[in-house]
Symmetry: D3
Subunit: 230 residues, 6 copies
């Protein structure tokens, strides 16, 4: 068994589908083994397609994507989902502090001991800012509930930031959970591309097989250990 | 004796109390040994406590904190203090250039040869931006007065940014100046916490003792050498 | 001969004269050897001189500088020049996405296979943001035309960012092209300083001689390989 | 409770007392909570005091030190201790492969799932080589027993290697185990110095208090996560 | 077409099969497109299996492996192969200078303009030393023939060195050459393992597909640009 | 004036002429301003030219080079010179500890407060080992005389190690001392090459002018601050 049942996991994702791409298999496994998991999605994930942000114009897609969030996370067994609508690919137009305060509220509510979030040197500006905000929110004071933070990669983003720097050192075996991850990512129909685009079903699977090979298992998700206090 | 009496020191701090936490002991020693020192504080240090910045609501605390700045710096013997009110923990909402221009004005006025400022990879967004602004202001042209720049750590900020990267290589022995540092930080009553919070009297002392042990003295402050021209 | 004649080069520069300082000799050589080159300049390069941006006040200088862009690039033989007016030294006040979309438009139009752009850890905020935007625009999907990206240094900017980190690994021999580079940079009269300022004729030449010595040629321009797909 | 009782811990230390300085508190805690722990010490720890290695001359001290190993490790509750006599501070005179083969033998014998060992950029040449050897021995193939590797710092060695680079991200709370660590290190009488030497009782305690403050506990040991597969 | 026909490629590999694993597809493609390629293998690749090096005992395997070198490289179309017998996994017992002098001799003989060699922070000590030696041999003086150096990864070695640091930025599309690479590596029967061991046929293919996905092609080999002078 | 007259400087150089190339101008200036300086040269600097070290064969050149050491250092005004004969470019065949013990002896004899030595990531193996040895010898205990350590670059060595990593942050203005540096290096006739070889008179001067331009002076030597305790 992976861990004792008291674990409370919070995924802090910048935009919809990041939570599945980044740690969907691992979280499915945690839940299967008795943990509770929660997903926080900060951005709306759509409006960057226009030159000027226009939520009204994209309302239908936004509604559709929101539904996908719930169906995808349901497959993993996530207990509760929190969705905000910070502007997609424009987190740099929002004060960092506003994002900090949202994460803080959810975190204080959930009291997770484990957080999965983005990698600090991702290509996507929303991902970078999410990482900074998470660290600000989880200062390891005696009263802090969060004891473990791991950062994940997001296909077609992290691996497009040069110089490549994602250097994982924590690997979760998801050999029995890869199917659930694939099933969940399928729900994000509008986000999926055709292989060889990395954000494709075959891309997701190839990536998990690659990290699995690195550590002697069939499929794995790779993380960088940010901080662990035990 | 530490240095010849011609030294003119400028501390460029993001928010009140950073100047004491970062280099209070060293600056006290410089002054004791005949140098002149000046403090520039860029931010007001209070309003980030609210969801929306509301200076009016916090006016009393702001006034109180401003008084603490002066009493704390007086203990060190700082000759003059410049205080601005960039929004606390929201320097990212201000154009970098505005901060650059303020530091430039003060620097051209004081003509310091030494600057102490924040560390470039701090957790706090105000600290990061202050570092960038200082480097922009002090381009080492023939006419530039600043010949030495050192960056300092700020307890409960620098050491909370993972991966940890503060890698000091310049240490000032403050064995005879630690008391003055402690006395000065005490003036910032509203900012102090109880140990084991690092921003506590015991935390400040422990930190100085730790770096002292690293370099064979009783108490030390640790800096990263940014640039020295001699 | 340097390369086959099919090369289409796009320079993505933050502000006027960066394109010459960064890669003027190399681009002159590419053109001489049969390639087509295009210059995209994102910022207007002037208004940061004022405390508040005031384009009207600086209109004459802005017009003058725009003329210089064309005469300087003409010397290299650049085929077409695209000039935008993002606010000088204030790219941090613009959403990154807006800059991304401009570069994307030009790139899709030109379909270059090579891009020269800024270095990711430059001192200048406009340079940093330009680098981020270029990487975002050139995700190496099967349909992407850009196959090679190199980042350049800008004198009196890159080398003023401490800790120094520009670590070039691609060097173009510009021994026969240095004169053209000097001639082009001369057109930017308003931007040139007297030596020992690095942004001077002697400074530019010294720098090229320095990198030349590093790699066994008379004059060279130095680049960091960002990504090459062949 | 820290971890489930199946954990089997192997400490791979270069020289005597490294195992206590590096992870004595953590291993005491693991054992207290039901794990089995083993210590492998590769070097004899004495002969570097002479210009030419002369084991005969130092036999008495070598014998004495070997006794200390056993009494110190007994305090922690270590189940078995393996001691080799690679030449102190001269591991660079031994083929790396010889050290690899020794660690391999012990590891295959113990089948640990956790290894604690030195930090890769220590000052001490024996420490560096030990790290390299451990990584070579624990390639994460399907049959590999070792699932977690953490590297530790050694006072008066790691912190003397400039640029400082030890950047821990895994912290074990040893508030209840610090006394046992102190008790164990006391057994290494011949190795202890007076404070402010870091390798002193006060130094060891100060260091644990410092890392404790970093993560909100009374005393902690700090590690860098090398690789974890779960 | 990849490059003009004048290219002369030298692979400098530490041990047999590294030349195929590292750059077999790329070199096959270079040859196909008209270049000449040469392989230099420094070590014998076998004797590290014994506690004490005993060439006599392993003579049969050594002879067998040498034959495999020739058949494997023949598949790629390598023009000439140079094989030395530095002790496998014990390059640290040989003066670096001895290795330097061998590479120098071959290089002066071949006069390659491109070298492919190992990555500087590999796990394998032979690989690290080979990299150092290559750099020493190819100082970019005016008379130096070598104009491009790229470092490659070796499966089950590079990716086992933590922290992971291989950060490739040059990718060669080997979609049409992967079969030749696989065919060549098959010749090293004694070196191949079963998947999920990375040094397996499936592992080699997975790795090439993974890097291909990163850059929008079917299969790719990944390299770090060491130095290019053009 | 640079510094007070109590400074005692020790240069720890791997091989003859490194002391001039690395810090000749700065040390000349220190001496001019009243300091005492000492040179320690560890290696003999010649025998690496042969495949097997043969001191007898090279005795004449060794004698000649030794004379050059004295005449060159005399020009700077160095007070005393210590010369050892560790094997040129083969320091890796000597136990690190042997080199440590030599430096220790000289250092305890001279009791310098400042050491100039090689850069830790140089290309030359002797340089790397010298750096490691110096750090081992100067652990900053209360009784340690050495308070400042700076590392220097060596032309045609440091800048040939890729990835380039020498990142200086301490610059000494040698505008008035460059002639003395040039005069001294001229004494090493047998070591000098013709420009564009970096180890030429023009190369040395170009390098000093380049760093001078970086920091607003005519000529400068560039160093990395290793550790300063004040």
């Amino acid at each position: 068994m992976l861990r004792n049942i008291k674990n409370r996991v919070l995924i802090v994702a910048a935009n919809p589908d990041d939570e599945i791409l980044g740690c969907g298999g691992t979280v499915a496994r945690f839940i299967k083994e008795g943990c509770e998991a929660y997903t926080l999605i900060l951005g709306e994930g759509i409006t960057s397609r226009d030159e000027k942000r226009d939520k009204a114009k994209r309302q239908k897609e936004l509604d559709e994507l929101k539904k996908q969030i719930f169906t995808a996370n349901k497959i993993l067994g996530v207990k509760n989902i929190f969705v905000y609508d910070f502007p997609d690919n424009r987190f740099d137009t929002v004060p960092l502090l506003d994002i900090v305060k949202i994460i803080e509220k959810i975190k204080n509510n959930i009291k997770p001991n484990i957080i999965f979030t983005h990698y600090e040197k991702d290509l996507n500006i929303d991902h970078i800012i999410t990482y900074q905000a998470v660290l600000t929110v989880t200062r390891p004071l005696p009263t802090e509930s969060v004891k473990e933070i791991y950062s994940f990669e997001i296909l077609s983003s992290t691996e497009y930031n040069y110089p490549l720097s994602f250097s994982p050192n924590v690997f979760f075996d998801i050999s029995e959970d890869i199917d659930k991850k694939i099933e969940a990512i399928k729900k994000y129909k509008s986000e999926l591309k055709d292989f060889p685009h990395p954000r494709s079903l075959e891309g997701v699977k190839l990536n998990a097989k690659y990290w699995g090979m690195h550590v002697g298992v069939k499929y794995a998700e790779a993380f960088k250990c940010v901080r662990v206090v035990k």
